[in-house]
């Protein structure tokens, strides 16, 4: 199912499989004119074949940067300072750019937030999807075209034969995102990273795209990382959730448990700001204050300034993870008491 030689493959509890992707203690810094800022601080994540990991957090929390860094897609001023990114038994941070190019788009693929600007405006949709096939499978023009049209059908783009020769500006937002997804899954990757795939789209289209991603995940048995700031998206599509705040993961849990009993006060605050149908909420409450920018990241708990439950022990030292059961953990000295 997942990696070819995974001993636990086929066991019913997918979460216990050897993970397909395991990010360990990844730290990323940006070199700015004013100095170096650490935007991702020792982040660890795991995701297995057939599972969807929802990576949730506010913008600037480092969720996109974590994934870009894992694939070596950081902008020139970004640097990984420590950590490992184990994918299928290989550390992606140690292999060179040429090897990485062979991997990207083939075994790991990525879908970006704004499909309208993520497609090359002077190339046809068909050309751009075929390119993946040409690069990784060496298909000839005709075969690539045939396969591309199949892919367009697969992601639900009508009139795929005509659409093949059209340019991105002739596509709507939703159709563009479908094309982006077709491009990403062209070589049937083992892992698909979707970075805010629905944020730029209309609400009705959002649901369709999420549906499509879930279907494809099942069909191709991919692992899916879904980056979003929208807990609604998480509830709809994720199996497991990692909550990021100010460059760190603060809580990890299966999706139902997270929504049911959030353990970190930040997670709880996020959930309280969300309208619920399953529970009567008197009023929606926003968390006071704002998330700190990377230059103001402290070494202690970064949520302290906005937290009602902190005490002197919270500042100064980074709160370490506490395992709760086998499936969840939280980085808080005074987690929410489960009643």
């Amino acid at each position: 199912m997942s990696g070819p030689a995974t001993p636990l493959a086929g066991k019913p509890d997918a979460a216990r499989e050897t993970p397909l992707l395991e990010v360990r203690d990844l730290s990323v810094v940006f070199d700015m004119p004013e100095g170096t800022v650490e935007v991702v601080d020792q982040v660890s994540l795991t995701v297995s074949a057939g599972r969807t990991l929802g990576l949730v957090g506010e913008s600037g929390s480092g969720k996109s940067v974590t994934c870009l860094a894992a694939l070596g897609l950081l902008a020139a001023r970004g640097r990984v300072t420590s950590g490992e990114v184990m994918f299928n038994g290989r550390d992606l941070l140690t292999i060179d750019e040429a090897e990485m190019s062979k991997l990207r788009g083939c075994e790991v693929a990525m879908v970006f937030q704004d499909p309208m600007v993520s497609l090359n405006p002077v190339r046809t949709i068909g050309w751009q999807i075929s390119e993946s096939l040409f690069l990784h499978q060496g298909l000839t023009r005709d075969k690539a075209k045939k396969r591309t049209i199949e892919l367009l059908d697969l992601v639900g783009i009508p009139n795929s034969k005509t659409r093949f020769g059209e340019y991105p500006h002739q596509f709507s937002g939703g159709m563009s995102q479908r094309a982006m997804i077709a491009m990403a899954i062209a070589c049937e990757p083992k892992l698909l990273i979707a970075d805010e795939p629905t944020t730029a789209l209309d609400v009705t289209i959002q649901a369709q795209i999420l549906e499509l991603l879930s279907e494809l995940k099942k069909e191709l048995n991919m692992a899916l990382i879904l980056i979003t700031h929208d807990l609604g998206v998480i509830a709809e599509a994720a199996d497991d959730v990692a909550v990021m705040y100010a460059g760190r993961v603060v809580e990890e849990a299966p999706v139902l448990e997270l929504f049911d009993t959030p353990l970190h006060h930040y997670t709880k605050g996020l959930l309280n700001s969300l309208p619920r149908v399953d529970r009567k909420v008197d009023r929606l409450s926003a968390i006071d204050g704002t998330a700190p920018p990377p230059q103001e990241f402290v070494s202690g708990c970064r949520f302290e300034a906005r937290c009602d439950h902190c005490d002197d022990s919270c500042s100064g030292k980074r709160p370490s993870f506490v395992d709760i059961g086998t499936t969840r953990r939280v980085a808080c000295l005074h987690p929410v008491v489960v009643t």
């Binding site: 913008s59 929390s61 870009l68 950081l74 600007v117």
Partner: protein, 300 residues
């Protein structure tokens, strides 16, 4: 736009309330090239304004016993620091005089182009319709003829007094301001604040002078800074070719034109004014780029 997540915003955070030197406040820290360029421009302006006070000789004073004297560093005397030309005139004195006229023509010429072009652009944007059509056609005409060819023809056929020269040089580049002003006014007229003051019944003139112009001024000034070196080069080229500034007046290009004939015997006559022009246009270009990047990145 996940690139936004990848670029943590750090621009707003500068060390609070610490007293910064002028250099830092203007964002000049480390920009040595820009600082050097500014110093040179100030120096040239100073020479243009006050050069007459320390000009060693009248720029027209000939000395037939001291023709083609080399500068001090090439074995000449301190009497003529930068040597003399074919008529024994002091090169330094001529340079000072030349800087004066070149800077004068450059600045006035640029101002004429900027005011004329901006005015036409605003008029076009205000009236739209056929007025705008005519303007855009004039722009097409201007673009279709390299300006120096137009200028040479006019100066040769119509005659070249200093006034005509300044006007001709001033016309250069008007179409750039016109286009810029037109498009900016068109978009400004759509903005809420203009619609608001219009609904208050403010007159057109007041709307433009108080609300529209102040908003587009910065961009126009940056454009003028970018155009200035071109205007200075144009004048110097025309004078070099003998169709610009006429004796007894002198400009940098004209001195160079004379020096061209003595390139072997007395290269300093040509090299000295050439260097002055080159460093002047270079400095203005450097400062102009810097200004544009700081004030108005959209102009690129």
């Amino acid at each position: 736009m996940s690139s936004q997540h990848a670029d943590p915003d750090t621009s707003g955070k500068v060390a609070p309330a610490r007293r910064l030197s002028l250099i830092k406040r203007w964002g000049l820290a480390g920009e040595w090239l820009v600082i050097a360029a500014m110093v040179y421009i100030v120096f040239v302006l100073f020479v243009a304004l006050f050069g007459f006070t320390f000009q060693p000789y009248p720029h027209t004073q000939t000395d037939l016993f001291n023709q083609l004297q080399p500068p001090v560093f090439m074995g000449g005397t301190w009497e003529h620091i930068l040597g003399t030309d074919d008529l024994g005139r002091d090169v330094l004195s001529r340079l000072i005089k030349g800087v004066q006229l070149s800077v004068l023509i450059g600045v006035i010429g640029t101002a004429i182009g900027a005011v004329l072009g901006s005015f036409l652009g605003i008029v076009a944007a205000h009236f739209r319709g056929w007025v705008e059509e005519i303007l855009m056609m004039l722009v097409d005409v201007q673009v279709s003829l390299p300006f120096i060819i137009f200028a040479l023809a006019v100066l040769a056929f119509v005659g070249n007094s200093l006034t005509i020269l300044i006007i001709v040089v001033g016309i250069d580049g008007w179409e750039r301001y016109a286009r810029l002003a037109r498009s900016m006014v068109l978009s400004a007229n759509q903005r809420d604040y203009v619609l608001a003051v219009r609904s208050l019944g403010l007159g057109h003139f007041k709307i433009y002078s108080r609300h529209v112009l102040p908003n587009i001024m910065g961009t126009l000034i940056v454009q003028a800074t970018i155009n200035l070196p071109g205007v200075i080069l144009l004048e110097s080229t025309l004078s070099f070719l003998g169709l610009g500034v006429q004796p007894p007046l002198t400009s940098l290009g004209q001195i160079l034109g004379v020096g061209r004939d003595y390139l072997i015997l007395a290269p300093w006559i040509a090299v000295a004014p050439g260097m002055v022009i080159f460093f002047l246009t270079l400095s203005i270009a450097i400062v102009g780029d810097w200004l544009r990047d700081r004030l108005d990145p959209t102009l690129k």
